[in-house]
Symmetry: D2
Subunit: 294 residues, 4 copies
């Protein structure tokens, strides 16, 4: 299959279940909500080495948030126990500490709930208040009062939706990946948790040489090893590969993001080939076929 | 004491020793080095709840980096054991995965060293190479080759240098704090690890009401509790307080940052009072007197 | 009338007709479309001293643009003859010169049209091509080929929609104005052409003292002159005023922007009073009553 | 000659004299100084079609500005008469109108001076005041008081310093150009006035086909015309060219910027060839040989 002259590999992305929390951070201006969101979702690229996966889902205008202020929606993804722990820690350390912020649940319809009890920080000076129909705790702090919901919905979402952008040289692949990330930013319900949304170093499970390594470079996708690795997945003429990894609140959102990202990447000059990553289909319950979504 | 009409409290900041690593991240453009640095230094506001404290120290031009590309210097601060673990994890998950990055030691003169062995990720395909006089490992990855030093200097630095910006209302205090952070960004050897460099919610050790809490709101610095708390530290006419917390490679750098930050904050209309935080002088070995540095 | 505890003056904004062109600039990534748009809409705050008024209206995703790439919609506002001249010059100097750009008409339904003939720049090497259903000219340039429509719709819009954000001090007023601009950025069909969307220095027509001046400071709105000017419009307790000036493709868009901006501004602590500017109602055909739109 | 494996053409850049003014814009924070600077230097890419050439030269910390606040230095370049007119208009419309700004002369040593009399805007309410050793006018405005010097130095500088970045494909050339612009941003005394600092469409004087055109595409530098144009300057294997055009306060600054930009560009993968533009050496008095500066 071809799209805009770019070959689309006849393959699928294999993805996995994850628990997802959506937190709405508001602040006096969009910029301050954004700064808190960046800090709260940092060091959260991959569940392999980071405590969770997290990223900015979308910006919200005042008429889309409970307190009528500009906001940013972020997604946190992890196993259920880890998820609660991480949401607590990241809101406590990175949002409660951030100028003018308030925090609201972004999944009010979800049946499963986690408790994020920051109000103990108030040491007895805290009190309850309704804001935009939400039951919140108000905690006196240095810059005035912090307002936050403490009951957050979580849903079973999808982690590891992905595709590869392959280019005739590194800069073409990089700009293709960037265009993909731009497009995915406009899709609701998903994040791309890696730096700038892009993965430069894909990994395989385990290591052939160093048995203590839980993961190591995926030599089949390394362009510089193309001549040295028997089962290389690098087509002729490809000098660089970037992977876009997508986590989302459900499979449809991940599919939409993959489609939007690929449609954008193939418009970038020098992008030559799109593929996707899977493990033979035995590990993850989600198999998203590139041909189906495009 | 007054500066630009703003009262400077007759007090001192109490600060603590910490181990510090400086990592230089380079990339094809400044923007890509910055994106990796942001991810690598996220979720790192306070050692109380985050795995370490971290932030961007400064931008470097190509003639200041070992590989001649634009770069960003970041500082990681923690106890010695935690520091090594965090530098390894954050470089592995947030920089090695980031487009076009390379990584170099930013404290080559330091006697104490930590090993940051990412090359095992290469699964035997890695090799050694000298770049700009530095012994590096080259790891084949999807976007080409990752280059990184693996021997990093660490020094005993200073954590928790601080001052308070107090304003007649919240926006005056916030813009004063922002001006301070802008000024500190130009000082070498320091970071301000909180979101946007600013702390909105100061804490005291422990809690009077909730014994299980390791820290809780510092009611003495809460403007809304001014009438309710006997020993309030909030002067009359103050409606909001922000704290700037500074970590640095040595006491001089922290002092210079505090001086630059305060000088900037007092120029912002509506900033009325500058103070600093301490614990009576019994906890931290560093006592930085505001009158001395201004 | 009060909104969120902030007094809304019982007055109206007086606005004027203007011709408006909407140009869609696309590029390889959103960032490059944005850079071209910033340059093309600079030096365009006020028709009094600038050649036109211009600004960024909104960002467009790939599925909203004729060539499927990310884009930015900009509005240019001026008298009809000046408008054509300015669109030609600004596209020629600031967009055709900008990396990877293409340009499309953003008002295809408009009956009035202007010709923007950049293809002569091709010196005979140019050719015609249909892109996304639009008749375009393709011009060979250094970075490849520039693609552009040359027939642009123009509509009779509204210039000078406005409101004032008044604060108890300068930073409160500034952040209130910033919050207003953030909110207006989400409204289609409008721009705020001043730097950062905000006007710090309002003017009156002519000058009492310097007869050669076409405009001079509006002393009635100067907080520092409150005690010196008989007919001051500055309420007690106000230390700073910012004006948000809005141009739009029609009156409804301007009204919606005013409403969104005011709703956002009144949520900022220290904002105390909202008013609007008019000239007694004799100059502009549009009178937008604050009470009506809120 | 080769640099980092990239061929450096044996040629020179031909540049021209221009008058230059440096204006220092300060504001409450760096961000607000920057916003004013962006507006004031917009629509100023090329003197051919814009009223002047202008751009941001550098950021200044509080200890580098007369009023101790963060600032941005901008350069305006034009013929002497046009320069004065443009500095007046752009400061009046884009800086005086911008929140919290003040303006200072950035060339106090220059013998040639221009008067930029904005104080008439004060309509008699203005007054004089010394700020940081500078004689300034204070004008009451809506957000408080505007402070500005009115006597600006101008020097005979250099316009049109330039080099070409040629890549094996468009994205490689673009990222090479971006890296060059990043590097040049660190050089004092220069600006790159085009959008994002980069020119995508070079021109020749006049037109062969359309006699009314003062300039048209330079077909010798169009990669898509390589096979059609006899005297093409496009080497084999080049798919895209970007030009970096540099204006500066003197020839040394322009040379330093060219050297820094080229050194950065050749480090970007896929950049294959560096050249420079001239008109045979008969037009401009400055001839900057690439071999000399590298």
């Amino acid at each position: 299959m071809e799209l805009n002259g770019v070959t689309i590999d006849d393959t699928y992305a294999e993805a996995f279940p994850t628990w997802v929390s959506r937190v709405i951070i508001t602040a006096v201006t969009e910029e301050w909500a954004y700064k808190a969101a960046v800090e709260a979702t940092g060091f959260a690229t991959s569940a392999i080495g980071c405590p969770c996966e997290a990223g900015i889902e979308m910006f919200l205008s005042g008429d889309e948030t409970p307190d009528g202020r500009p906001g940013v929606a972020v997604l946190f993804c992890a196993g259920k126990k880890k998820l609660k722990e991480q949401v607590v820690e990241r809101l406590a350390e990175c949002v409660l500490t951030s100028p003018t912020t308030a925090v609201f649940d972004g999944l009010p319809e979800a049946e499963e709930r986690i408790a994020v009890k920051l109000h103990f920080f108030g040491d007895g000076y805290e009190y309850q208040k309704e804001v935009g129909g939400r039951k919140c705790w108000v905690i006196p702090i240095m810059n005035g009062e912090y307002v936050g919901e403490e009951d957050f919905g979580i849903v079973k979402g999808v982690a590891g939706g992905n595709f590869f952008v392959m280019g005739e040289n590194q800069m073409a692949a990089l700009m293709g990946a960037q265009a993909a990330v731009d497009a995915i930013a406009g899709v609701c319900g998903v994040i791309t948790s890696f730096p700038g949304g892009i993965v430069a170093s894909g990994s395989k499970v385990g290591s052939k040489k160093y048995k203590f390594m839980p993961a190591s470079t995926n030599e089949q996708y390394c362009p510089t090893l193309r001549e040295k690795v028997a089962e290389t997945k690098i087509p002729a003429g490809i000098a660089a590969v970037y992977e876009i990894v997508i986590d989302g609140i459900d499979e449809d959102a991940v599919k939409e993001a993959m489609a939007a990202g690929i449609a954008a990447a193939v418009k970038v000059p020098g992008v030559k080939y799109i593929s996707a990553g899977n493990f033979g289909g035995n590990l993850g319950p989600f198999k998203i076929d590139l041909a189906d979504i495009l």
